[in-house]
Subunit: 227 residues, 2 copies
């Protein structure tokens, strides 16, 4: 039979958002020991009767009020002493979401005082090994941006090509050539040009585009190269 251990699995979530040309990440202020009052990634313990994917959804909801995020695990952290109170192995997940499309952030449980967006530049020291978890996750999505259409998960449904480009530039941390970027993006054929323009700007309004998931699926089996 299986041994009985006092071992615990947890989930930690690295949730990226994009707002005002800046890449942000979702943090909570802890309301529990250890690391009470510290900033941390949203994370908690997996129950015995839920899969880790389900646990990730639930935990994020409880700590931030956000639901139905599409999260993907990216790494498992299993050092013996990563949690001061015992053996806790944590599976880290990431998601990319539209900040504006979301209602306000409101923790449902008492474990977090609040949840809020913080720019990825100038992150403070986080609780546990969460700074390391964040870095690993950031590197993953940076890599993935090159060959998967994850950028569109961060933008509003309708976006301009300039917004798309500035997102790429923010994540990859480098400038891209405007003409080449647009040429390549449009050449893939999965962007649908809308009959609509940007509103409320004090300069020439840009065309709006939509990501066409259907077409993407037909064209690619998950491959592209940008940046």
């Amino acid at each position: 039979m299986l041994p009985k251990f006092d071992s615990v699995f947890s989930i930690d979530c690295v949730i990226f958002g994009f707002e005002a040309g800046e890449l942000k990440i979702l943090l909570i202020e802890r309301n529990e020991e250890p690391y009470k009052d510290w900033l941390a990634l949203p994370g908690y313990i997996v129950e015995q009767d839920e899969s880790i994917d389900d646990a990730a959804e639930r935990i994020l909801y409880e700590l931030t009020g956000l639901r139905d995020m599409h999260m993907q695990q990216f790494h498992t952290f299993g050092e013996v002493n990563r949690h001061p109170q015992g053996r806790v192995i944590t599976v880290a997940y990431y998601a990319l979401i539209r900040i504006n499309g979301q209602k306000e952030l409101r923790p449902v449980t008492q474990y977090a005082k609040k949840a809020f967006w913080h720019p990825v530049s100038e992150l403070p020291k986080l609780a546990f090994d969460h700074s390391e978890i964040f870095n690993t996750g950031f590197n993953k999505i940076r890599r993935r941006l090159h060959y998967q259409p994850i950028a569109f998960e961060l933008l509003p449904e309708k976006f301009t090509l300039t917004q798309l480009q500035s997102l790429y530039e923010a994540v990859l941390n480098k400038k891209l050539d405007k003409r080449n970027f647009r040429k390549k993006m449009l050449s893939y054929g999965f962007l649908k040009e809308l009959d609509e323009k940007q509103k409320g700007v004090s300069y020439r309004a840009a065309k709006l585009y939509k990501f066409d998931k259907r077409k993407y699926g037909k064209i690619f089996q998950g491959e592209m190269t940008i940046g």
Copy 2:
């Protein structure tokens, strides 16, 4: 405080080898319930006082007699019912090794009757969700082969360009053009041509090459594209 759960972490290892132009994987025959007598990936339970990376090394050693493999985790499997006797979350690791450089396979514990190499084509149904774990791992290394120098971990220290190419072909499951392959590989500059030739073949002996890790490190920060 942390709750007490009857939860267990385990490690499963997907170990690839290359022999006779064929990609192989290391399997064990189980000597324990559940799935007694079934074929399975080498895997076992993580102790409370060891990191998951350490556990992976230990477990592989105990089940196969292989030591000092450089393993990397690639995914964590956490469905509730993946183990019939209770909640077990498993972290899957892979490694690529030289079959010929290794001594014989000899399990150190009683949990495995034997360990052996099996071609990745025509794998039988494995215990637990190990078939799924294998598939996930195989896809990972197939992806990684494109941009990381992992092929050299599978070949003997000295190898011919044809051996290298046939390894790429076996993993990617497609034919590559000989001239283009050689041109590109050599252009990277991390292959060292030796003053030595193949022996014991009944045809023109090919030059032997070595992977120059030093040069690779200098030239790349982990990037290349082949296949």
